[in-house]
């Protein structure tokens, strides 16, 4: 059994989002091969936890994926692939999988399951228990509990990698000669504030993508 946290997105409460977090995963290559073979049992969004900055980062892309899928404007074939695609700042699906999806050597994994069928109806057979049972069996790693507010989702984040991905530049996002002064300010600030600011920009970037 794996620990699964279920999130209800406001306005899309009828589609509860099941999220599980694993560390020290040893069979990422196997999971990835199942995804590539599009095995229907492995219809999850498996994400590299080092690319997820905050809970809101994950939830925004989930919301957008759900929304585009339900309004029939999705660019990819399944809601789970749409989720991976929505995270990425550019418009290349393969690229998004390479950057945000799991690689063969990934050890910290976030698995997201949306209870939705291909024709956009709610799949009642998917519950937190079924997801927990299935993931517990197939993922070889240590399950990590996620808090109700998503605590834990950003712990494995590689902030520098994320900053580079979204082209956020230096601290505080300042360019040019003012960077020196700005950096002085930024260093005084807590790390939490910096993440908060990055999150805000990233959410804007992914919300605006493709339009």
């Amino acid at each position: 059994m794996a620990s699964v946290q279920t999130f209800a997105l406001p306005h899309y409460e009828e589609y509860p989002v099941h999220v599980a977090l694993f560390k020290d995963v040893t069979n990422a290559a196997f999971l990835r091969s199942q995804l590539l073979a599009s095995n229907p049992d492995f219809d999850y969004a498996f994400l590299d936890a080092s690319m997820i900055l905050t809970p809101n980062h994950l939830l925004t892309s989930t919301f957008l994926a759900l929304h585009t899928f339900l309004t029939k404007r999705a660019k990819t074939r399944t809601p789970h692939s749409e989720l991976v695609f929505r995270l990425s700042p550019n418009n290349n699906i393969g690229e998004s999988y390479k950057k945000f999806g799991i690689g063969d050597a990934t050890t910290a994994i976030i698995a997201v399951k949306l209870p939705i069928t291909a024709d956009a109806t709610v799949d009642a057979s998917i519950t937190a228990e079924t997801v927990s049972k299935h993931l517990g069996n197939v993922v070889q790693g240590t399950s990590v509990r996620i808090g109700e507010q998503g605590e834990g989702l950003g712990l494995w984040c590689d902030v520098d990698k994320v900053r580079k991905m979204y082209k956020l530049g230096g601290e505080g996002g300042n360019k040019g000669k003012k960077t020196g002064a700005a950096n002085g300010d930024a260093r005084v600030k807590k790390e939490g504030d910096e993440k908060k600011e990055m999150e805000s920009v990233i959410l804007g970037i992914i919300a605006l993508k493709g339009s």
Binding site: Y12, H67, Q149, K175, A182, S200, G204, L208, S211
Partner: protein, 285 residues
Amino acid sequence: MTEPTLVPPIDPPPAPETSRPLHTLPAPFSLSSLEIITQGAEALVYKTTFLTPHTPVVVKYRPPKPYRHPTLDKRLTKQRLLAEARSLVKCKKEGVRVPGVLGVDAEEGWLVLEYVDGQTVRGVLDGWAHRVSEREKEADTRTEGQGNEGILDLMRRVGREVGKLHELGVCHGDLTTSNIMLRTPPPDSPPPFPTSNSISQSSSNSLKGDIYLIDFGLTTSSIQDEDKAVDLYVLERAFSATHPAAEPLFQEVLRAYGESGKGAKSVLKRLEGVRLRGRKRSMLG
């Protein structure tokens, strides 16, 4: 004399058909979960939650205008909404304090923005002007009493924020005191939803907090001094419309603005010209 026959009253044309009843939002939003904040000519602004049940946000919805051709309407709505969202993201990226963008659907015409809790500078100035006149009535011993430094510092912060915005080459387009907000600094342990009690306590006197620029509905990207000067001119008019006592405060805004960046000085020079003729540029020559 026969009276000329009266023209029969003209019936207004029937309301054009729309795919949805007016003033309802597209899926997934339903009116039951939304609380209206304000309505403008172009958009309806609601408060709701997003991502988690404890995250307050603003939804700005531009409803379709039934008097426009549907194709044109879609295009205009999309263009304007995207211009607003792009400007906000750009500002956020470069460190100007604006509400962050959380979600966009340009086809349907909605935009989800971070909720800025606080009061408008308009409200702050009204309260300040009220207190000034009260004090004058009581006794005109010290008209320029203490507390002035607080409001002057607020003005300097406004000037610097506008300066940052203009340095990026973004013009606000409708820079009034109602579109500048003073965000109430979060208490050490912020409650998810402040009670109405705590709002009324903090809003009355405190001039602390960060300045946020809101409502980028008319924003343009411009590097011309003219557009920036018009922004400042509009703000100046908003100040003088509030209270005569507020006019000198604007000088402080301009002073801080002038020190904000390299282009600022020439914008101020341009402002002199704009003052002479008003916001609209002469079409002669």
